[in-house]
Amino acid sequence: MRGRIEAIHPETADAATLVIRPGRGWVRHRAGQWVRVGVDIEGVRHWRTFSLSCPPGGPDECITITVKAVPDGLVSHHLVRQAAPGMIVHLAGPDGEFVLPEPPPPRLLFLTAGSGITPVRAMLHGLLYGPATRGAARPGAASPRRDTGCRGLPDVVLLHSAPTPADVIFGAELRALAVRFANLRLYERHTRTGGRLRPSDVPDLCPDWTERTAWVCGPPEMLQEAEDHWAGSADRLHVERFRPATPTAGGEGGRIRFTRSGRQTDADGGTSLLIAGERAGVLMPSGCRMGICHTCVGRLASGQVRDLRTGQIHGEPGDLVQTCVSAAAGPVEIEL
């Protein structure tokens, strides 16, 4: 499916919100879900995953993604710096489990860092403007514009961190919402002056945290710490990863044969099957490129692979392996 970029709104010095009108066939997403976006750069299609930063049912059924240009990020730089209204992108999805239940719990805690705010911003808007915009299936749902006000906005605490006040994506909007709605408490941590916000700080900032269901989105260290912190009450914790875990170095690599496309290539132990395949011109399915979405899986015909996140070597013929986080451990044949 394709989508047209209708407008681009700068959010911070290095982040922008893209308003995209999806083509026919777009299935309404749920606030918090992500979409895969395919962008042609210098003739080559690159797929990346972005959280949708708006609730469903926006004006003209447009959707928004909010992209932060990350260092060496080819696609994020292109979208933030080069994209212009009228540009066509490819879309797949929406998908993802980082969503609110229906009805939402009475008390919520959001813990976010950097661009981790984007899915939470969609959820906040969903909470503010009613179930239709949270993506709950409600035939003939009223348009969000008629659902103004904050009837039933649950008790929300949002703990967010960013390097400086100016780096807070949606900063002005979040502050205005916190002023307007008594039920929404916003705490900002500016890490350049205040240090990192750790999940261990949560009890001080939000004493009733054990009575809240938490949604956490941020860099991998933060998610890891959150999982440790909520150990024992994991049912109250939802996490969303938006950055790949750093690949563990080493491993022997090997020759990879892509049986369906009849290609083969040699790859070292630090290169994922996905990247090796793309370099060899194989039409590799790909999504999040960080081992989450399982868009990239391929059936292993022979050989073993090493999980780049854990270093673990695994794989038996017939296994479905995630090519984006698996490297060859010796010769490998994969049905792609």
Binding site: D40, E42, G43, V44, R45, H46, R260, S261, G262, E278, G281, V282, L283, M284
Partner: protein, 371 residues
């Protein structure tokens, strides 16, 4: 042949290295311009096909019939040659566009893409002009090289070559079956049957589309539309046959024997591709309509390089050949076609013996001497 013997083994490897560098240089600059090119050609092809079919609905008017048939024939030629052949070579795989990808493309031809990719990309491009290996030498039907032993059935080849030209797409499809491998037990009947059914499926689709569906849609214009489609298909067949025969069969194209391949280096592989291929001189339109097979030499050196770049590198390849004293065979379409037909006519008869085997320089040493 003597020309190749001039090059020394180190020269051959230097020649190969320079070609590798040229390839890397071009592949490194692929970008938007190339993507726009192929999408532009595809868009043009679709418009031509649409225009052709629309005009044929008015084909009770003779000018409309002529224009419609011409547009449709052009569209079919573009689809088969500049688009289909090159997409199936993987020339556009780097774009990662599933719509323009060698693993997903299905040409408007009788050959199923998977079968064609095997017989063309794997067999022909790997074993180019190697006797007993490259089945494209005469397509197992014609004697196009004096090294092929003569048989009296070849006496008729000038006649059945014309027939082959007319039904070229079906000829290619059946040829991909490699039926000659069945008696020796190299290929099972079951596999052949599966392939035959795949071919039948594609042939049926084309017949229904061109000879039933569109003519019937035209109502009273049934016959003119059918004849227009038939003419377009025949034109495409004859044109493809002409271009393809000019690629490897004119005077100057050399054939090799299997023992020459032993221990073949990358540089020698390049030289074999060069010696076995011939270019056609012409303008941009000829290059486009031939699917850039007018740059057969460049295509055989770099089969997966996007075809729009062949014209750009051709002068550099020619210079390189001149520098290394290697022949670069090229001629006008008329000259190359004439040369092919002359050869088919001559080789219908026995001989010539020792055509290229001057006693001082037996062919078996040509490439090996360089090794």
């Amino acid at each position: 042949m003597s020309t190749t013997a001039l090059a020394s083994p180190t020269d051959i490897e230097d020649f190969g290295r320079e070609l590798d560098e040229l390839r890397d240089e071009i592949i490194g600059t692929l970008g938007d311009r190339d993507a726009q090119y192929i999408r532009g050609v595809i868009a043009t092809q679709r418009k031509l096909e649409l225009a052709g079919r629309a005009l044929l609905f008015a084909s009770w008017l003779p000018p409309a019939w002529i224009a419609g048939t011409a547009a449709l024939a052009t569209a079919k030629i573009l689809e088969n040659m500049e688009i289909g052949h090159n997409v199936l070579h993987g020339q556009w795989d780097w774009m990662r566009d599933p719509k323009i990808h060698s693993t997903t493309w299905e040409s408007d031809l009788a050959s199923p893409s998977a079968q064609w990719k095997h017989s063309h990309n794997v067999v022909h491009h790997t074993w180019t002009n190697v006797l007993g290996k490259d089945r494209d030498i005469g397509y197992t039907l014609l004697r196009v090289s004096p090294e092929q032993p003569w048989h009296r059935v070849y006496l008729l080849q000038p006649v059945y070559n014309v027939f082959l030209a007319l039904v070229f797409e079906y000829g290619i499809a059946l040829y991909d079956l490699e039926v000659e491998r069945i008696p020796a037990g190299d290929k099972s009947l079951k596999e052949t049957w599966t392939q035959l059914r795949a071919i039948a499926g594609k042939v049926r689709r084309q017949i229904i589309k061109d000879y039933l569906a569109f003519p019937m849609l035209a109502g009273p214009g049934f016959m003119p539309v059918l004849l227009g489609n038939l003419t377009a298909n025949l034109t495409r067949n004859v044109w493809a046959h002409t271009i393809i025969f000019c690629g490897h069969f004119p005077e100057g194209a050399e054939v090799f024997t299997e023992d020459q391949l032993e221990g073949e280096t990358r540089g020698e592989w390049y030289v074999r591709q060069l010696l076995g291929s011939c270019n056609i001189d012409g303008g941009r339109l000829l290059h486009l309509m031939s699917g850039n097979l007018s740059h057969q030499i460049e295509h055989h050196l770099f089969p997966d390089m996007p075809s729009n770049r062949y014209a750009e590198i051709a002068p550099r390849v020619r210079d390189l050949c001149e520098r290394f004293g290697l022949p670069y065979t090229s001629g006008s379409l008329a000259r190359q076609t004439g040369s092919v037909y002359k050869r088919i006519l001559r080789l219908a008869f026995p001989g010539p013996r020792h055509h290229r085997t001057a006693p001082a320089e037996p062919p078996a040493t040509d490439l090996r001497a360089l090794a």
